[in-house]
């Protein structure tokens, strides 16, 4: 493969601090600056990293923070909740054992003569998809926690929220030390020299996007030893157990389900597109469909609908007509939401715009036949032995995550099978004194 041209001018939104609009930096220079910043980060104790992010969380949650007005509905409270100490410390513990391993050699397990330390891998390139705007920051957060330098590549059509969040972090006590190791690049998929150049700088490429865009990025030049963590298209669905249908609070369940269906206009990979009800009764299904339609209507108050494109409208009306003629459909007066039911045994298709397929199965275990590597999250409305049996069955076939209905689209670790901080470090070992010093 032809080496990338590191003289390519990279359009920049943020580089170690705010930059004037229209700033470009040569890729080689960008790599040098982030490389130096990465070395500086090594001396920063992980506790200081967590502390700065916790401070940023408080700042972000402040009512007078102008970002709330500027980016309504962007999920800033959610970003803030991720930055809190009480989120970050358990995440580091789950991923690395003792987070202090990022600062020093620690003796772990039975091998008292050897210490282990987690080192940042270097420069992490976060290649973002445009469907979930806040995801860029959450991906970046994983890189910062592990003391890596980070280059976030956003789509040319993306808003400037990420740069504004980083400006806020830079103004937080201790935050500038972190943002010194961060850059945000913005260019379109057609700017191949830029894409090749930033790709070739990375030690880790965290790639979010459609199957096509993930494949395109993977085909860009990269370092031989670079690690790729890919997050391509995924589909998700919900299962409702027979016990829940018999005795559960179905109205509350429908409300939580409506939340999952409405967030991000169903564009997230964790958004459900199908609900399987464990029942053979069409009446039960129809009665639940009506509850769900009411809940989706009510959810519009908190999550107003983004107007769909002409093509999306056509797809929705097409399905409504088809299901009115040949199956069952419940929907809003406008294009806000659509509940569809048929006798098919399949996932989706993923239509988006709050369109959900409601399907009956005699036994939820049958759903295992539909699991492919493309399935990400399963929202589960079942308890006890029913849940245990189902979770094991589906996980063994490739499901990455089980979530409570109502919390499906909350970013979580592990995600798509990765405990991200774990994948953003490399481990070294060395002999230590018998005392462990």
């Amino acid at each position: 493969m032809t080496p990338a041209d590191l003289t390519a001018a990279i359009p920049i939104d943020f580089l170690q601090g705010p930059v004037p609009a229209g700033t470009t930096v040569e890729a080689g220079e960008l790599g040098r600056r982030l490389g130096q910043a990465r070395l500086d980060l090594l001396d920063l104790p992980v506790e200081r990293v967590v502390s700065a992010l916790d401070g940023f969380s408080a700042r972000l949650l402040a009512r007078d923070n102008p970002l709330h007005r500027r980016y309504p509905g962007a999920g800033l409270a959610y970003v803030a909740s991720w930055c809190r100490r009480r989120s970050l410390e358990p995440l580091l513990e789950e991923s690395l054992g003792d987070p202090r391993a990022l600062d020093e050699y620690l003796v772990r397990g039975a091998r008292a003569s050897r210490g282990l330390r987690a080192w940042p891998r270097g420069l992490v390139l976060h290649w973002m998809a445009g469907n979930v705007p806040t995801l860029g920051f959450l991906s970046l957060l994983m890189g910062l926690l592990t003391k890596n330098a980070n280059l976030v590549k956003v789509a040319s059509s993306q808003d400037d929220l990420l740069a504004r969040l980083l400006e806020g972090l830079a103004e937080t006590p201790g935050g500038a030390e972190l943002t010194a190791a961060v850059a945000v690049a913005r260019f379109s998929h057609s700017q191949l020299p830029q894409a090749r150049a930033v790709s070739s700088l990375a030690d880790v490429r965290v790639i979010w996007g459609s199957d096509e865009s993930v494949a395109t990025v993977r085909a860009l030049p990269s370092r031989l030893e670079a690690l790729d963590l890919v997050f391509p298209n995924r589909v998700s669905f919900i299962v409702v157990g027979a016990g829940m249908l018999r005795q559960g609070d179905l109205k509350a369940l429908a409300q939580r389900m409506a939340q999952d269906i409405s967030v991000f206009e169903q564009k997230a990979c964790a958004s459900p597109h199908t609900v399987f009800l464990e029942t053979e009764s069409q009446e039960t299904l129809e009665s639940f469909a009506r509850l769900l339609a009411e809940a989706l209507q009510a959810a519009l108050r908190g999550l107003p609908k983004t107007p769909p494109s002409q093509r999306e409208v056509a797809a929705l009306l097409n399905l409504r007509a088809e299901y009115d003629m040949f199956h069952q459909a419940w929907y809003s007066r406008g294009t806000e939401f659509t509940v569809l039911s048929d006798d098919k045994f399949q996932l989706g298709p993923a239509i988006g715009n709050r369109t959900i397929f409601l399907r009956r199965v005699a036994d939820l275990a049958q759903v295992a036949q539909l699991i492919t590597p493309k399935v990400q999250s399963v929202g589960v409305a079942a308890e006890g032995a029913e849940l245990d049996r189902l979770a094991d069955l589906l996980a063994a076939r490739g499901v990455h995550r089980f979530a409570r209905v109502g919390g499906m689209t909350s970013f979580d670790m592990p995600w798509d099978g990765f405990l991200l901080p774990q994948n953003l470090v490399r481990w070294t070992s060395r002999p230590v004194a018998a005392s462990g010093q």
Binding site: K305, P307, P308, S309, Q310, R311, V313, A314, A315, L317, N318, A321, E322, D324, M325, F326, A329, R333, G334, T335, E336
Partner: protein, 370 residues
């Protein structure tokens, strides 16, 4: 007599006699046709029942259930017995790969042709023209298999005295025969009144008008007409507006602006044609109506607001294509107030979504042009 109200409506002047006269007649014809489809097309009836729509109670055109154009890609609906279907019409292949399919009986087909011709004659006059078709000879010749592109061209030739083509097929590509075109235009300079230049919009502009302009070449064809149809998608990408196209046609061919006519129509409602008038607006004939719908609420929008274009007409009786929502964005310009003097609603097609598929013969043909 079957479709009595519809027959009455088709006796009206092409653009009717104004809103007060048109509205009740069109509503009555639409109710008549909706009842017919309800009674003769079971899936349509099921849909109406589920939506609580009773055609006999139709009070407003806005209440009619409509089908999106994409619906016809996967479902062939019929309101006549299968043995009465004499032709299945398919639209141009699209980037989705699936053409729309419509079942036509002889009556619908005849009615469509009649309506189409009336609208075209109203716009270009009833005389016969010498056509220069910017396409290859097979599109105007006789053949068993008729492509959607050829079908569009042939439907216009009822008013042709003579037809010449000036494009040749070279392998998979189409190539403009510039020499032949120049010769035809030179000859026509003396008898411009009889000339009709017809082409798909992109071909007309990108392969004829623009190159001639660049070469500094122009003709004097006052009274000649330039007729074009098809997608604007590719021209929009080149920032060519309808106004610029008219202006440049006038510069190159020496025609009057009002003689450059942009046709709009779609296969799912064959027979309905919406040419730009002398004032540049599009009119709906007496046997049709246009409604602009908000993409979120689906409510009908007032004049001046952009939304999705829905077209209503009772002329399709073999399938329930009487109310169709397109993916095209447009707006109502007014009603009974067009400077050209034609009554009825006027509208403008603004375009299609950036992510919408390439659709229509013009866009498809543009891909083939060398």
């Amino acid at each position: 007599m079957p479709f009595e109200k519809l027959q009455d409506l088709l006796q009206e002047p092409v653009h009717g006699r104004g809103r007060a006269d048109k509205a009740p007649k069109l509503l009555a014809a639409m109710a008549e046709v909706a009842i017919f489809h309800y009674e003769h097309c079971a899936p349509y009836r099921t849909m109406c029942d589920k939506r609580g729509f009773a055609p006999r109670d139709l009070a407003s055109l806005e209440d009619l259930p409509y089908l999106p154009t994409s619906f016809f890609k996967h479902t062939l609906l019929r309101s006549v017995p299968e043995e009465e279907v004499f032709r299945e019409i398919t639209s141009s292949a699209t980037t989705s790969g699936q053409p729309s399919r419509m079942a036509l009986d002889r009556e619908t087909s005849r009615r469509q042709s009649k309506c189409f011709n009336k609208v075209l004659i109203d716009r270009i006059g009833s005389k016969r023209f010498n056509f220069i078709v910017l396409d290859e000879p097979s599109t105007v010749g006789r053949s068993q298999v008729v492509s959607a592109r050829a079908s569009t061209i042939r439907s216009l030739l009822f008013c042709a005295r003579q037809v010449d083509t000036c494009v040749t097929q070279e392998g998979a590509s189409l190539v403009l025969d510039q020499e032949k075109l120049d010769g035809l235009l030179q000859v026509a300079q003396g008898s411009g009144d009889d000339l009709m230049i017809f082409g798909f919009t992109f071909i007309l502009y990108a392969h004829v008008v623009e190159p001639l302009l660049k070469a500094g070449k122009s003709y004097r064809l006052p009274g000649a007409k330039v007729l074009h149809i098809g997608g604007w998608k590719k021209l929009e990408a080149q920032k060519v507006t309808p106004e610029k196209l008219v202006e440049d046609c006038c510069r190159v061919f020496g025609v009057r602006p009002e003689d450059v006519v942009d046709l709009y129509g779609f296969t799912e409602q064959g027979g309905m044609l919406y040419p730009t008038c002398q004032a540049g607006r599009r009119h709906v004939p007496a046997w049709g109506e246009v409604i602009v719908r908000d993409p979120l609420t689906l409510e009908a929008l007032p004049a001046g607001r952009e939304g999705l274009l829905e077209f209503i007409t009772p002329i399709q009786t073999s399938y329930p294509g009487h109310a169709v929502l397109t993916e095209d964005v447009g707006l109502l310009l007014g009603e009974d107030d067009c400077p050209c003097g034609r009554p009825g609603r006027t509208f403008k097609v603004v375009g299609r979504a950036p992510n919408s598929e390439v659709r229509g013969c013009g866009d498809i043909m543009a891909d083939k042009f060398a």
